[in-house]
């Protein structure tokens, strides 16, 4: 079993539907935090956390800055901020320049988490129309973490996971119905 101290899921266009299918099938005693970085419009935060929360018995919360990262909790990155991870396992938010035309940027969080969790990190990249997240996956690999992507064939927009497969030498390619099982077996 792959040791996992944090799972980060990145996604853009077409990834919300995937989460709606995956979240209900997650076991409720997940022994690590799940951090979700989604591209979206500004100011739709509470809406998104509410929607995701309706799909799982796990606690879903929007991240507060300097908050402690707890296992068994699903964290949603607020719109219009980058998310970084501190060495003391707290969250920092950052309002600096967009990366890949995106804030939050998936690359920024993957790279920051890779430094902190190194080989205890698992990152999953879902459907999307730009390549944000791909460089992050490369960093995660360099630090010994595990990388997975949604099978582009099953993605509403295949570009993002396809780019990852092309460039990041990912460990796992998962169909939508395989994702929950994969996560449930991490420990």
């Amino acid at each position: 079993m792959k040791t996992c101290k944090a799972l980060i899921i990145g996604g853009s266009a077409g990834s919300l539907d995937v989460l709606f299918k995956v979240l209900p099938a997650l076991r409720i005693d997940i022994p690590f935090p799940i951090i979700i970085v989604l591209h979206r419009k500004q100011g739709t935060d509470s809406l998104l956390s509410g929607l995701l929360s309706s799909k799982t018995a796990l606690i879903v919360k929007e991240i507060e800055e300097k908050e402690n990262i707890l296992s068994g909790t699903i964290y949603v990155v607020p719109s219009d901020y980058h998310l970084l991870i501190e060495k003391d396992l707290t969250f920092s938010l950052d309002y600096s320049e967009k990366v890949n035309y995106s804030r939050p940027s998936i690359d920024v969080t993957f790279q920051s988490a890779a430094e902190i969790y190194s080989d205890d990190l698992v990152c999953l990249l879902l459907s999307g129309s730009n390549a944000d997240g791909v460089n992050g996956l490369i960093t995660v690999k360099n630090y010994g973490g595990e990388t997975a992507v949604q099978d582009p064939v099953t993605a509403q927009v295949e570009y993002m996971p396809a780019q990852a497969i092309l460039r990041a030498n990912v460990d796992r390619v998962l169909k939508i119905e395989e994702i929950a099982d994969y996560i449930n077996l991490l420990g």
Partner: protein, 278 residues
């Protein structure tokens, strides 16, 4: 990836110590994840080849140190950022302050000034600008020079105009500036009530008493201890019944000053209680 290998955690601490000793700029209370990311970004942008050279240049080239401060601090901002916030200012906060004979406002961490001009526009529309004074401060002299010019990229005006309308503005936004090549130059009248000055929230003291203090998306770059220290500075600089406004993800909760403040329902705006209300 060289991205993560170029500067390690110990080297970050070395730079923080250097900069404090040689220039008196204290970054020890800054969140390390952000700070390290900014350092690596600058290292990459300037095509630095080794940490030793990077360190030498920062420590011995005061022109480069200016650039260092400018690039290490985050200066991303926009006009009428978070329109709902400006709507609350316009409809709830400033009308209350409008009953005062004189309104002193401190915009801390004003960066290139977009929020200062936004504030001046709202004050003007409420017919309060003539009796207001906006103190706009930042750690970074370079951005203050830009702020004082009041010129922003014309390409941003469509977005700013949308923000302005969403914040409750009803005028034609373009009536506040004139196009000058690729820049929008804002009316000098807006500037008459602005005072720009450097101020370091980490090391400088309170310099006046205000009825309204805005400091948005600055505290996120500080660790909890420094956040509390800066909130204390704001508390010392705010009159009773004055207002404190923070960024959308920042809070006075958990800090020692929180018991003296009452939050306005939805926005990140707190009102300081008068002594008898404590």
């Amino acid at each position: 990836m060289p991205y993560s290998a170029a500067i390690n955690d110990e080297q970050v601490e070395v730079l923080i110590t250097d900069v404090l000793e040689q220039y008196g700029y204290d970054f020890t209370g800054y969140s390390r994840a952000s700070l390290k990311r900014r350092l690596l970004r600058l290292f990459g942008l300037d095509k630095q080849v080794s940490f030793a050279e990077f360190r030498y240049k920062i420590g011995n080239d005061s022109t480069y140190f200016k650039r260092f401060v400018e690039q290490i601090t985050v200066n991303v901002t926009e006009m009428f950022r978070d329109p709902a916030f400006y709507k609350a200012l316009r409809e709830k906060v400033l009308p209350k302050l409008g009953t005062y004979p004189f309104i002193r406002i401190w915009l801390a961490g004003c960066s290139t000034g977009e929020e200062v001009y936004s504030m001046a526009i709202v004050l003007k529309e409420l017919n309060l600008l003539h009796k207001s004074l906006i103190y706009a401060t930042d750690i970074n002299p370079t951005v203050l020079e830009k702020a004082a010019q009041g010129m922003f990229p014309l390409s941003q005006m469509k977005q700013y105009s949308e923000n302005y309308i969403a914040s409750g503005g009803t005028k034609d936004f373009s009536s506040y500036y004139s196009a000058n090549y690729s820049l929008a130059k804002f009316d000098n009248e807006l500037k008459t009530k602005m005072i720009f000055s450097t101020h370091n929230l980490v090391s400088d003291h309170s310099f006046n008493e205000f009825q309204l203090i805005l400091c948005r998306n600055v505290l996120i770059y500080f660790d909890r201890d420094l956040q509390f220290k800066v909130l204390q500075l704001f508390d010392n600089s705010l009159e009773n019944l004055g207002y404190l406004a923070l960024g959308t993800k920042e809070t006075t909760d958990f800090s020692p000053i929180s018991k003296r403040y009452k939050r306005l329902e939805t926005e990140k705006i707190w009102r300081k209680l008068s002594d008898e209300n404590l």
